[in-house]
């Protein structure tokens, strides 16, 4: 844990050394809530019926969906990006030469981006709250385990993509497929119940679907975690199975990279 934190801290120090860009990214994040506020206000009447049970206000519904999508995007992309950067600069070779466990290395390489996306999500939620979003602030604590599960459920995709980077020097199509499917079929802009026909069944395979089904009732309607236990359980099961499989795949990729000489080749 100490080693992962050291890596996260270094990434934070490096990113915050670009002071203007760092401050600007938060400023633009706050401003980005304004158009969402107006567009969702215009669609409030149309969406009011279909979002029942997941908050009564389309603005809050949409903000929570976008925050979750940003967190998913960071989770899926941070590790492969971190690995690609570390490989191309040669820092990976230096880090692999230290007695650091693989899990600490992976957590350290991706941790900063994921934590930053959570911080950005909180800032966005506060900005939305200031604009009148109906948020059950007292349930913020209860929503943390759900967000953590959303991150964990998408970690296997990040690990599989990182395995591709290690073995073949390319990310492959997996992260794009997952992000595209999650954006349009994961319930970010509209509940999955409004998706027509067989396409809706695809959303059943997306962890974000269950994450948002659990998150919105808790964060927007103030329900307890037990009220959403079914979706939380599915997320947990999904995480357990895919995480184990992805770790096996990553170890195999590492062995392959050592055999063909891809590891730390830049």
């Amino acid at each position: 844990m100490h080693k992962a934190w050291a890596l996260i801290r270094s990434n934070w120090l490096a990113a915050s050394s670009y002071k203007l860009s760092f401050m600007f990214s938060f400023g633009s994040l706050i401003l980005s809530v304004v158009p969402i506020f107006f567009i969702s206000g215009a669609l409030q009447k149309t969406m009011a019926d279909v979002i029942k049970g997941q908050g009564d206000q389309y603005f809050a519904f949409l903000v929570v969906g976008l925050i979750a999508l940003n967190v998913v995007s960071s989770t899926v992309n941070a590790l492969p990006s971190g690995l690609q950067t570390a490989t191309s600069t040669g820092t990976l070779e230096a880090m692999l030469a230290t007695p650091t466990s693989l899990s600490a290395l992976l957590a350290g390489l991706s941790g900063y981006e994921v934590l930053l996306s959570l911080l950005r999500g909180f800032v966005m939620l506060v900005a939305a709250g200031l604009l009148g979003a109906h948020v059950a602030w007292l349930r913020l604590g209860a929503s943390i385990p759900i967000i953590a599960l959303v991150v964990l459920a998408h970690l296997p995709i990040a690990i599989l993509t990182a395995a591709m980077v290690l073995a073949f020097r390319t990310r492959g199509p997996l992260p794009q497929i997952v992000m595209l499917a999650s954006t349009f079929l994961g319930g970010v802009y509209y509940p999955t119940t409004v998706i027509p026909g067989w396409i809706e069944s695809i959303s059943a395979f997306l962890p974000l679907t269950y994450g948002l089904k659990a998150l919105r009732p808790v964060l927007l309607e103030g329900r307890s975690l037990t009220a959403v236990w079914r979706d939380v359980s599915i997320l947990l099961a999904f995480t357990a199975v895919t995480l184990a499989a992805s770790v096996v795949a990553f170890r195999a990729a590492l062995g392959y990279a050592r055999r063909v000489g891809n590891l730390a080749q830049y």
Binding site: H2, K3, W5, A6, L7, R9, S10, L13, A14, S17, Y18, T89, G90, T91, E93, A94, M95, L96, A97, T98, P99, T100, G255, R258, R259, V260, G261, L263, A264
Partner: protein, 350 residues
């Protein structure tokens, strides 16, 4: 005897116990293939990077691996650093096999990644050291003490709080070494550490490596280089790698003498061909190349002189007796290409 022109360094205490043992180490890498080849059903071709490499490096020794680009030096280092697995043979570091006990090997051996990009440029030197201290498991006061010690060793205390992006190449190289020394490794791998340095910085960096790293820290050092002068200046023993094969290994003074130290350039006037032929017939001179006289009539002769300096004295005396003026006589530094040519010729004759 130290090679002529080499900087005189203090010799470290070399133990008789081996720090690194290589036995029949062989490694091939698969070749990239096109779409047609992929579906042709033919077996995938491979490139042999190392073939049956065997040698021992003793504890405390400064061992040089000399070879041209693509000779297999980096592959060998990556195998030792547990980043590449060998196809066959074994590499043992401090009694631990790199394939079977990689984590033990990583505790003993550290590669100095000579590429400056492997530092975090947007962090200060101190922060770079803090990060790697943590990755090596050093914490709190222990980490702080070790970092201070090493920054002082590499003379970067004053620059410690500056961003690495503002460091010179020499400073970055010294920081890379300090970073590697954090965990007190017993074996250091240096892969062409002076390649990005100017000649003056390279010389001072070599002195730092020999005296402050190898000697003061008591490390066994393996240095990969394509610079014959650097290898002969720094190393106790040198191994010559050529196309993945270790074609020669020996103590630096012996190897230098055997393959290059007898090579001299002599300036004479006039170019008395009969005198040269006599010296060649007596076996004093070999492989003689006589250049055209310059505007003042001086001809440069490049040749191997039997017995090195003794042979030079004999040749000068002979020329003087024949009334031939000798203006200058000096050893010729062999280029890597010349050295390889000689080693390979000797290898073929053997």
């Amino acid at each position: 005897m130290a090679p002529t022109g080499a900087t005189a360094y203090v010799t470290p205490a070399v133990s008789s116990s081996p720090a690194v043992v290589l036995r029949g180490l062989t490694k091939s890498f698969p070749k990239q293939r096109g779409w047609r080849a992929m579906f042709s059903g033919k077996a995938r071709e491979s490139v042999r990077a190392l073939t049956d490499v065997s040698c021992e490096v003793r504890a405390g020794e400064f061992f040089g691996l000399l070879g041209e680009n693509g000779a297999g030096k980096t592959t060998l280092f990556k195998i030792l650093a547990t980043l590449v697995t060998p196809d066959s043979g074994s590499a043992v570091v401090g009694g631990h096999d790199v394939s079977k006990e990689p984590s033990h090997v990583r505790e003993l051996l550290a590669p100095v990644i000579a590429d400056e990009r492997s530092l975090h440029w947007r962090l200060s030197g101190l922060e770079n050291m803090r990060l790697f201290a943590a990755l090596h498991g050093l914490r709190g006061a222990q980490a702080t003490r070790r970092i201070e010690e090493l920054l002082a060793l590499v003379n970067l205390v004053e620059a410690a709080d500056r961003l690495v992006s503002g460091y010179s190449s020499g400073m970055k190289q010294r920081l890379l070494v300090a970073r590697t020394l954090l965990a007190r490794p017993s074996v250091l791998l240096l892969d062409e550490p002076t390649r990005s340095l100017d000649p003056i910085s390279a010389r001072s960096f070599r002195q730092f490596l020999r005296e402050d790293v190898a000697l003061a820290q008591g490390c066994t050092v393996l240095l990969a280089t394509h610079n014959a002068e650097e290898a002969f200046e720094l190393c106790d023993r040198v191994g010559v790698l050529h196309r993945g094969r270790l074609v020669a290994t020996g103590a630096t003074p012996e190897l230098a003498r055997e393959v290059g130290e007898d090579r001299f350039a002599i300036w004479i006037r006039p170019a008395d061909q009969a005198a040269i032929d006599t010296l060649a017939a007596r076996g004093v001179m070999r492989e003689v190349k006589v250049a055209e006289p310059d505007a003042e009539g001086w001809s440069r002769i490049e040749c191997d002189l039997r017995g090195g300096l003794d042979g030079a004295a004999e040749a000068i005396a002979f020329f003087s007796l024949r009334g031939v003026s000798v203006a200058r006589c000096e050893p010729v530094k062999l280029s890597l290409a010349d050295l390889l040519e000689r080693v390979l010729a000797r290898h073929a004759n053997a």
